[in-house]
C-alpha cells in the first residue's frame, strides 16, 4: 500500500471515529432529557400509602430535586469517570446489572444470527438461481410467512408444540443448550426472511450481468459460479442487512426474551423503563448506541476489505 493510500485509510478511520463520538454524545444527552420529561420515579417507587413528604424525601435521596442542568453536569461527570450510575429499583450499579445480562443476550443473538444467515442466504440463493421453477414457488410463501409472523405468536406456537405437546424442549428460562433452541428459532425466523429477500434481490440483479454470462460461457458450474463470481458481488447488500440485524439482536429482543423468560438485556429494558429507573435506562441506551456504532464501524471496514473501491474513493462511505 502506498503512503498516500495509508493516509487516506487513516483519515477515513479518523473521521468515522469522530462521527461515532459525536453520535454517542448526542445519544447520552437525548436519553437524559427524554427521561426527565417522562415522569417522576419517586412517585412510582414510593409505597402506596406514602405521604407527600415521604416522596419528597425519596426524591431528595435520588438527587432528583436538583435543577436539571446540575443533574446533567453531574451525570456527564460520572460518565467521564466510567460511572453509569446506580439502579433506583434494584440498588445495584447499573453496569453490574447490565453485564450480568450480556452473556444471555449475546448467546441468543449470535445463535439467531448464525441460524438466520445460513437459512436466509441459502434460501435467497436457491430462490434466485431457480427463478420461476418449483424451488422458488415453494420457498416464496415460506419466506412470506416467516416475515409475517410476529415473534409473540411464533414463540407461543413453538412452546405449545415442542414443550406442552411433545415435551421435548424446555418452555422457558435458561437451562443450557436445549433451552436456547426455541428462542433462537423464534428470533431467527424474522431475520432469516429479511435476509432471504435481500439475497434473492441482490443475486437476481447480478445474474443478468455480462461477467456472469461470460463465466457461464466458459463452462462454470453453479457451485463455481456462486463461490467464485457471485459471492463477492452480492456480499455488500447482504452485509448491510446482516449488520443491521446484529445491532438489533444485540440490543436485546424484548418480545422473544419476555415470552421465553430469557434473562437478557431486552427484559431488563422493559423493567427499567416501566419503573422509570433512570440510571439503568440511560446505561442500556448508551450500551445499545455503542453496539450500533461499533457494528457500523466494523461494517464499514468490512466493506473496504470486500470491495476495494470503497477505500480508494475514500469518502464515499464515510462522508
Amino acid at each position: 500500500m502506498t503512503r498516500g493510500a495509508a493516509a487516506a485509510v487513516c483519515r477515513y478511520l479518523g473521521s468515522r471515529l469522530g462521527q461515532a463520538l459525536i453520535a454517542l454524545f448526542g445519544v447520552t444527552t437525548a436519553v437524559f432529557f427524554a427521561l426527565r420529561l417522562s415522569g417522576d420515579p419517586a412517585q412510582l417507587l414510593a409505597p402506596q400509602g406514602a405521604s407527600q413528604a415521604d416522596i419528597a424525601a425519596l426524591r431528595h435521596q435520588l438527587g432528583l430535586d436538583d435543577p436539571v442542568w446540575r443533574q446533567y453536569l453531574h451525570y456527564l461527570g460520572d460518565l467521564l469517570h466510567g460511572n453509569l450510575g446506580y439502579s433506583y429499583v434494584q440498588h445495584e450499579p447499573a453496569l453490574t446489572l447490565i453485564t450480568q445480562r450480556i452473556p444471555y443476550t449475546v448467546n441468543l443473538a449470535l445463535s439467531a444470527l448464525v441460524l438466520s444467515a445460513v437459512l436466509g442466504i441459502g434460501a435467497g440463493m436457491i430462490m434466485a438461481l431457480n427463478r420461476g421453477r418449483w424451488p422458488e414457488r415453494v420457498l416464496t410463501p415460506v419466506v412470506l410467512i416467516g416475515q409475517a409472523m410476529p415473534a409473540f405468536w411464533t414463540g407461543i406456537l413453538l412452546i405449545l408444540v415442542f414443550s406442552v405437546t411433545f415435551k421435548i424442549l424446555p418452555s422457558t428460562g435458561f437451562s443450557g443448550f436445549d433451552s436456547l433452541i426455541l428462542p433462537a428459532v423464534t428470533l431467527a425466523s424474522l431475520s432469516a426472511a429479511t435476509i432471504a429477500r435481500i439475497t434473492r434481490g441482490a443475486v437476481l440483479e447480478q445474474l443478468d450481468r455480462d461477467y456472469i454470462r461470460t463465466a457461464r460461457a466458459k463452462g462454470a458450474g453453479t457451485a463455481r459460479l456462486v463461490t467464485r463470481h457471485l459471492a463477492r458481488n452480492v456480499s455488500i447488500p447482504i452485509l448491510t442487512v446482516l449488520a443491521l440485524e446484529i445491532a438489533n439482536l444485540l440490543g436485546g429482543s424484548v418480545v422473544t426474551e419476555l415470552i421465553f423468560a430469557w434473562p437478557g438485556i431486552g427484559q431488563l429494558t422493559v423493567q427499567s423503563v416501566d419503573g422509570r429507573d433512570f440510571p439503568l435506562v440511560q446505561a442500556i441506551v448508551i450500551l445499545a448506541a455503542v453496539v450500533y456504532i461499533v457494528v457500523n464501524f466494523v461494517t464499514d471496514i468490512a466493506y473496504a476489505v470486500l470491495d476495494p473501491r470503497v477505500t480508494t474513493t475514500g469518502k464515499a462511505a464515510g462522508a
Partner: protein, 512 residues
C-alpha cells in the same frame, strides 16, 4: 494450497456454533447441590425477578415471595385467622402508649452460624429508616422513632401511639447486622444471609433464584427440600410451564388464564381473597359534575357490580360494602353496601341537572382496560358522557397526585396497604391533603386522625364505623370488589393461599 472461500466460511461458522454451545453460562453463587434428601423440590413461576433479595429495600410481591422464605420476620400472621402470632418475638407488651418491648426467641441462628439477637432486629429497623439506604419501605415504618436491642429484648418507641405498628412488624425481616455491615448493602443483596426456613443457594439475575431447606431452622422441618423461583413475565408462558410440567406453581394468574387451567387433569387453580380492593375514586374538589354528591350517588347505582364479578373476574372476586375488604381491622360490617338501580340513577342525574355532561375518567395501562370500559358503559347508560384518558403509569401518578386536583372526575384503582387495617385505606385515599385524596371533610378527618392514635381495638372500630358511615354518605369513592389472588398449580401441591399473598414454602407440601 488455497482453501476455497466457501470452506473457510463454513469453518468459521462451525467454530461459532461450537463456541455458542460451549459458553452456556453457569449460575452465579454457590454450588447447586441439593441436601441429598429424597424430599421433593418445588419450582415456582413468578411474574418477575425479585427487584431485591435484601428485605430492607423493596417490598413488591415478587421480592417478598422469595426473600421472606430466607428470613424470619419479627411477628407473623396466622394464615387461617389473620391474627398476629409470635415468630421471632415470642412475647411483647406495651409499657406506655408509645413504647413496645419485645422478647426474642432464644437460640435462633443465621445460616452463617452467628446468633440472632435483639441488636440485629433493631439494626434491621434502623437501616430501613436511614435515609441513606433510600428504602422503599421507609414509609411503612415511619411511625417508629427509635429501635434499640440488648440481649433478647427489643424496645421500639413510636412518634405517636401507633395501633398499626404490630401489623407492619409482621413484614419486618431480620437481617444479620455484622454480615450486612461487613459485606455492604450491594453484596448482601446478591448473597442474602437469613435465619429463615430456607437458605439462599444461587441465582441467575433476571432468571431464577434457588433456595434449599435450612435444616438448622428453629421451626418445624418443612417438607419441601428445595425451591427454584423462576421469573416468567409472560402469562401465557406461565400457563405453558404448568402444562408442560416445568413449573409446579405459577403466581399472578388472571381469571382468564385460570379458566384455561381448569381443563387440565393434573392442574388446579388455587385462590384466596386478598386485602386488595378494586375501587372508583371521585374528584370532589375539581371534578366538574362529580363535585355534586347526587351525581356520585347516581354513579354508585349505575355500576353493575354482579356482572363485574361474574363476567370480568370470572367469579374470582367478592362484593364489598365500602372501599375496604372484610379482612381489615375496622371493616364497617353494619353498612348496607351498594345497589345496582339504573332507573333511580337516571332520575338522580336528572335531579342534579347533569344529563349529557362529560366526565373525564383517568386511567393507565396498569389497570384492566376491560373493567375501565365496562364502567364507562355503565355510567353512559344513565345519561352522562365518559371520556377515558389513558396515560402511562408515571404520568397518571403525576396527574392524580398533583395538589391542584385537576386530573379529571373519576378514576379506577386497586388498593392494598399490606397492613390489613382500615387506616391503610381511609387515611391515604380520603384524608384531606394526602396524595391520593381529592376529597375534604373535616369531621371525617377528625375521626381518622383520632383512630390513628387509638390503641384500644373496640374504640378504634367504633371510630372507623363512624368514619366509613360518612364515606357512605359522601361517596368520595366506591368499593367495587375484593380481589382474589390466583395461582395455577400441579395437583401434587398441597397449599392453601392466604390473604397476605405470602408465599411461605414452609407451609407447602408436594406429593409424588
Amino acid at each position: 494450497m488455497r482453501i476455497p472461500r466457501i470452506l473457510r466460511i463454513a469453518a468459521v461458522a462451525g467454530t461459532a456454533v461450537a463456541a455458542l454451545a460451549a459458553c452456556s453460562t453457569a449460575p452465579t453463587g454457590g454450588p447447586t447441590a441439593t441436601t441429598g434428601s429424597t424430599d421433593a423440590s418445588l419450582t415456582a413461576d413468578l411474574a418477575s425477578y425479585p427487584a431485591s433479595l435484601d428485605p430492607g429495600l423493596q417490598y413488591d410481591t415478587d421480592s417478598y415471595s422469595v426473600y421472606r422464605n430466607i428470613f424470619d420476620q419479627l411477628l407473623h400472621r396466622d394464615p387461617k385467622t389473620n391474627k398476629i402470632v409470635p415468630w421471632l418475638a415470642t412475647t411483647w407488651k406495651q409499657t406506655d402508649p408509645k413504647t413496645w418491648v419485645f422478647t426474642l426467641r432464644d437460640g435462633v441462628k443465621f445460616s452463617d452460624g452467628s446468633a440472632l439477637t435483639a441488636a440485629d432486629a433493631a439494626f434491621s429497623i434502623q437501616r430501613i429508616l436511614d435515609p441513606k439506604l433510600a428504602s422503599q419501605q421507609n414509609a411503612n415504618f415511619s411511625a417508629i422513632a427509635s429501635a434499640t436491642g440488648s440481649g433478647n429484648t427489643l424496645t421500639i418507641t413510636t412518634k405517636y401511639p401507633s395501633p398499626t405498628l404490630l401489623s407492619y412488624l409482621t413484614t419486618l425481616s431480620v437481617v444479620p447486622m455484622a454480615d450486612v455491615q461487613k459485606a455492604g448493602n450491594a453484596a448482601f443483596n446478591l448473597h442474602p444471609v437469613g435465619s429463615g426456613p430456607y437458605t439462599f443457594v444461587s441465582s441467575i439475575p433476571g432468571s431464577q433464584v434457588v433456595l434449599k431447606r435450612n435444616d438448622a431452622w428453629w421451626g418445624p422441618k418443612p417438607q419441601i427440600a428445595g425451591v427454584t423461583f423462576r421469573a416468567v413475565p409472560s402469562g401465557a408462558s406461565r400457563v405453558a410451564d404448568l402444562k408442560s410440567g416445568k413449573a409446579d406453581i405459577a403466581d399472578s394468574m388472571t381469571p382468564d388464564s385460570a379458566t384455561q387451567l381448569t381443563g387440565s387433569a393434573n392442574l388446579k387453580v388455587l385462590s384466596a381473597p386478598t386485602e386488595r380492593v378494586s375501587y372508583l375514586a371521585f374528584n370532589t374538589i375539581k371534578g366538574g359534575a362529580t363535585n355534586d354528591p347526587k351525581v356520585r350517588q347516581a354513579i354508585s347505582m349505575a355500576i353493575d357490580y354482579k356482572s363485574l364479578i361474574s363476567n370480568l373476574e370470572q367469579g374470582y372476586a367478592k362484593p364489598v360494602n365500602s372501599v375496604l375488604t372484610p379482612l381489615a381491622t375496622g371493616y364497617p360490617t353494619a353498612l348496607p353496601g351498594y345497589t345496582f338501580d339504573k332507573a333511580k340513577a337516571k332520575s338522580l342525574i336528572q335531579q342534579a341537572g347533569a344529563q349529557g355532561k362529560t366526565i373525564v375518567m383517568a386511567t393507565s395501562p396498569t389497570y384492566d382496560p376491560q373493567i375501565v370500559q365496562s364502567i364507562q358503559a355503565n355510567i353512559q347508560d344513565i345519561g352522562l358522557k365518559v371520556s377515558i384518558q389513558n396515560t402511562d403509569q408515571a404520568t397518571y401518578l403525576k396527574k392524580v397526585q398533583s395538589p391542584t386536583h385537576d386530573w379529571g372526575s373519576i378514576r379506577f384503582g386497586q388498593w392494598s396497604c399490606s397492613c390489613l387495617d382500615a387506616d391503610g385505606v381511609a387515611y391515604p385515599l380520603f384524608h384531606t391533603g394526602t396524595i391520593w385524596s381529592s376529597y375534604s371533610n373535616p369531621s371525617f378527618d377528625a375521626l381518622v386522625d383520632k383512630a390513628r392514635e387509638t390503641i384500644t381495638p373496640a374504640t378504634r372500630t367504633g371510630l372507623y364505623a363512624q368514619a366509613y358511615g360518612i364515606l357512605a354518605q359522601d361517596l368520595p369513592g366506591i368499593g367495587l370488589f375484593q380481589i382474589d389472588a390466583i395461582y395455577g398449580a400441579s395437583t401434587k401441591l398441597q397449599w392453601t393461599p392466604d390473604a397476605q399473598q405470602s408465599f411461605f414454602v414452609a407451609d407447602m407440601k408436594l406429593g409424588s
